[in-house]
Symmetry: C2
Subunit: 109 residues, 2 copies
């Protein structure tokens, strides 16, 4: 990109990696925004830094809507099955599942 071509591999120098992360993250979110506006597309971006900090963009008012739509679009048989399995596994390892279920169903009727 500038003053030197970049090799496509993890930047070893921690400081450089951090600076690059900051700049490119900003650039990525900006590009996502531009794509959504120029092309009237629905775009969602999720980024986690190495330290676990979250950065995200969503053309939708609620990124959850795009995520849900993704699920619906990507749910061919295999994907569905895989997701199901994941969900079931996730549930099995959670003790407060029943409480959550009740809370949820309650608000449903």
């Amino acid at each position: 990109m500038a003053r030197g071509k970049v090799q496509l591999r993890r930047i070893e120098n921690a400081t450089s990696r951090q600076v690059t992360f900051s700049k490119r993250r900003t650039g990525l979110l900006k590009k996502a925004y531009e794509l959504s506006v120029l092309c009237d597309a629905e775009v969602a971006v999720i980024v986690f830094s190495q330290k676990g900090r979250l950065y995200n963009f969503s053309s939708n008012s609620e990124i959850q809507m795009t995520i849900d739509r993704y699920r619906r679009s990507a749910n061919d048989a295999d994907k569905y099955r895989a997701d199901m399995e994941q969900h079931i596994l996730a549930m099995r390892s959670n003790k407060s599942i029943f409480i959550q279920v009740l809370m949820f169903l309650q608000s449903f009727e």
Copy 2:
């Protein structure tokens, strides 16, 4: 970006919009890939064209893992409530409630 600066608003000409979408979408996914590699970050991108076609990228082998992580990071009280409401709305208009319930539970853990 070339031969003329672009106004940040929906491209009216359908053909131009389509071509731009194709080019920028590719560019966005590439940038996402580069960010993930260079900075060792976890990145997920979801894009829907106007026609509803899905394009996505995930630095993780399964984008679902990044989405889950997002939920965990973003679940302050308000966000939780908003998600709940959205899921409920989604469910009301969907007959496969069982599947939706499972998917929803995943967001807790």
